[in-house]
């Protein structure tokens, strides 16, 4: 059982206009086996939270903490975080020219496990995982994400999730840009990883659509860099009907105080 704990996190970025605070005090605790959905309108800071957990250099933590089983995540470099068991499925996976998927997957798996995977089983595992995600076998020889469609890139992110077996998966708008079929395939992948029993999931999404396939126990609504409302799956249903408008400034909705589940 692992715990990822985010406490009163404040994050800012440097812009041409100066320093801008994006996250204004976020607290969140995720445990193994739990699925948390973070929902919110564009620009609310959802993706910033994801990138900050992964350690993207663009984001500066000004106060607060992130710990993984008590270890200070903010002290770790990007690669150390990944080796500690955090996985970020990226919203816009980059193309890495000249590096084949096969080489990349093996290099990453070796780094995460601290030893090279046994060649025979590894090749078999990769093949099986690709098949389940309906990724063509020839992708293994292609360069990382190069020329992949949006849906293919997302499937390859989930492929890594299944192969690397992290303690916590952060899915940054993995559903955006996917058609229904791809959404199902990707969701099945996440659910498989979850059912293996050693993972907690932070699902960041703008839409409720993916929640038909991945069932969160907890839903957090993000507005303007803060969690403004929290609840169970029923909160997602309500968002589907009402949208985010009622959280807009001046909408006059009494926002329930954010209580950690």
């Amino acid at each position: 059982m692992s715990t990822l704990e985010i406490k009163d996190l404040h994050v800012s970025i440097e812009t041409e206009q100066g320093t801008k605070e994006i996250l204004k005090g976020v607290s969140l605790t995720i445990r193994t086996g739990e699925t948390h959905a973070i929902m919110g309108p564009n620009g609310s800071g959802k993706s910033t939270l994801a990138s900050t957990i992964a350690g993207h250099p663009r984001y500066t933590v000004t106060s607060g903490s992130i710990t993984l089983d008590g270890e200070n995540v903010l002290d770790m470099s990007v690669d150390q975080r990944a080796r500690a068991g955090l996985f970020l499925a990226m919203q816009y996976p980059v193309e890495v020219p000249g590096v084949t998927m096969t080489n990349f997957l093996r290099t990453a798996k070796t780094a995460i496990d601290g030893e090279a995977p046994a060649l025979r089983t590894w090749t078999k595992d990769v093949k099986a995982a690709m098949q389940q995600l309906r990724i063509d076998a020839d992708f293994a020889q292609r360069n990382v994400n190069e020329g992949f469609s949006g849906g293919e890139k997302k499937r390859v992110e989930i492929l890594q999730l299944e192969l690397f077996k992290p303690k916590f998966a952060i899915l940054d708008e993995t559903d955006s840009g996917l058609d229904v079929d791809a959404l199902k395939v990707v969701s099945e992948g996440v659910n498989r990883a979850h059912e293996a029993g050693n993972m907690g999931t932070l699902l960041i999404t703008h839409y409720t659509r993916i929640l038909r396939y991945i069932k969160p126990e907890f839903v957090h609504v993000f507005v303007d860099g803060k969690v403004v409302e929290e609840g169970g799956p029923e909160l997602a249903d309500r968002l589907e009907e009402e949208g985010y408008d009622r959280y807009a400034p001046g909408a006059g909705v009494a926002v329930a105080p954010a209580v950690q589940a």
């Binding site: 992964a54 350690g55 993207h56 250099p57 470099s77 990007v78 690669d79 975080r81 990944a82 080796r83 970020l88 990226m90 996976p93 980059v94 890495v96 020219p97 000249g98 590096v99 080489n103 990349f104 290099t107 990453a108 780094a111 995460i112 360069n143 990382v144 890594q160 690397f164």
Partner: protein, 437 residues
């Protein structure tokens, strides 16, 4: 200037010292090196950095209207050394080259012993050593600069390698030139791919040499030929190599230059279409370490209709004074309708104190073409590449090497000959290993 060359390059960080002493943004002020007449240059560094100005002016490099240099078509070609004036370093095609380091290739008679030639070839291939009067010499090209003409004046015998008509070679031909010392020498190689033949030739350069080399490559109708020119000289070597190819009807030519070792290397591949329907690919890979000058000037002359050309050169630079130059000329003549051409150069700068010059030139004299494009990009590590790999647990150093390897692999992957790909991968690995020291 502060000395910060030992500092690891930070991705995305602006370079504190993007210039090499004595070099300005435009390169003309190489003169302290070449002629001693120019002003000091370090105070003229623009605050915008080395890229903005260079790219903005890259189309004006040919000089003004009426100046012979203004079109590649107007460049002097001659078999006679005396037709070329003594070099000053201000010439369009020499302005990036430190003449002082040419060790006389441009100014002395080339009387040194030429690098020894050894050829290993599959059965059927003809290998001959011939005198200057052989009729095949001079059939693919006329010297385009003084150093090439000097070699023409100075070579004593030539090696001619012929792939016979309608022969598909099962393995590659390897021509190895082993330097015999650093007295300025001349070399001449001729490669003939006869009608409908198919083959791969590796031209390896190793040892120590100061040599000007002319390589003539003839592709007869329907021939398919790959030539890999591999420069793995010792550190004291100086090498100028004019490699001119004449492309017959429907012939396919793939040319790959790999420059890794040597003090100064200047390779000038030229491809000319002699008939319609030809295809040319010019690829290049270079890795410049501290103090190395690696220069590549490609020229594709579209003088026939319905031909295709693609040029891609990629380079990495590391260490103080590492200097690379790529100048890509593409000329689409008036009668070259249906031409499809593209050229691109990409450089990856790994440390401070390096300089990459990149000048894509495109001249188009007809509008009836399928395509013509040119591109150039010089940059440091892409932050996002590094982040992506590190977010998968890969340590920074491993990720960097993966990215450099990947960057250069794009060229190696074009070769399609496993044995050579492996050899080049190893060579790149050695360069990368040197990065860690």
């Amino acid at each position: 200037m502060t000395d910060i060359t030992t500092e690891k390059a930070r991705i995305g960080a602006p370079s504190a010292q993007p210039f090499i002493d004595g070099f300005t943004e435009e390169g003309e002020n190489l003169s302290p090196v070449n002629t001693g007449t120019n002003t000091s240059t370090t105070s003229e560094q623009p605050s915008a950095g080395p890229l903005a100005g260079a790219s903005a002016k890259s189309h004006s490099h040919g000089g003004g209207v009426g100046v012979p240099d203004s079109s590649r078509a107007g460049r002097l070609t001659s078999y006679t050394l005396e037709d070329f004036k003594a070099l000053t370093g201000l010439e369009e095609d020499w302005r990036f080259t430190p003449l002082r380091r040419l060790r006389g290739l441009h100014s002395e008679a080339l009387t040194g012993t030429a690098p020894a030639v050894t050829v290993s070839a599959p059965a059927g291939v003809r290998v001959e050593t011939v005198g200057r009067d052989d009729h095949r010499i001079g059939s693919a090209g006329i010297p385009e600069d003084r150093v090439s003409a000097n070699a023409w004046a100075g070579f004593k015998e030539a090696t001619i390698v012929t792939v016979p008509a309608e022969t598909s070679l099962e393995s590659e031909i390897t021509v190895t030139l082993t330097g015999a010392g650093t007295d300025a020498a001349a070399q001449h190689i001729v490669v003939v791919a006869e009608k409908f033949s198919k083959g791969v030739l590796v031209l390896g350069h190793e040892g120590s040499a100061v040599v000007s080399e002319n390589v003539e490559i003839i592709l007869e109708d329907g021939a398919e030929l790959t030539v890999v020119s591999l420069q793995e000289w010792n550190d004291d070597s100086v090498h100028a190599s004019s490699q001119q190819a004449k492309i017959g009807r429907d012939a396919k030519f793939k040319h790959i230059v790999v420059s890794l070792g040597g003090d100064l290397i200047r390779v000038t591949p030229t491809a000319r279409f002699a008939a319609p329907g030809g295809e040319v690919e010019l690829f290049g890979l270079y890795f410049a370490d501290a103090g190395q000058h690696l220069e590549h000037r490609t020229f594709v002359d579209h003088g026939q209709p319905n031909c295709v050309s693609n040029v891609l050169y990629k380079g990495a630079l590391q260490g103080k004074g590492a200097h690379t130059v790529w100048v890509g000329d593409v000329l689409i003549q008036k009668n070259a309708e249906g031409t499809d051409s593209y050229e691109k150069n990409q450089n990856l700068v790994l440390t401070d104190g390096c300089r990459a010059d990149s000048v894509p030139n495109l001249e188009i004299e007809t509008g009836l073409i399928a395509g013509a494009g040119h591109a150039s990009a010089t940059g440091r590590f892409d932050d996002e590449h590094l982040f992506y790999l590190m977010a998968r647990g890969i340590p920074e150093e491993v990720a960097r090497r993966l990215v450099v390897r990947g960057f250069l692999n794009e060229i190696i992957q074009k070769i399609n000959v496993p044995a050579i790909e492996d050899r080049l991968t190893e060579a790149v690995e050695r360069e990368l290993a040197a990065t860690d020291n």
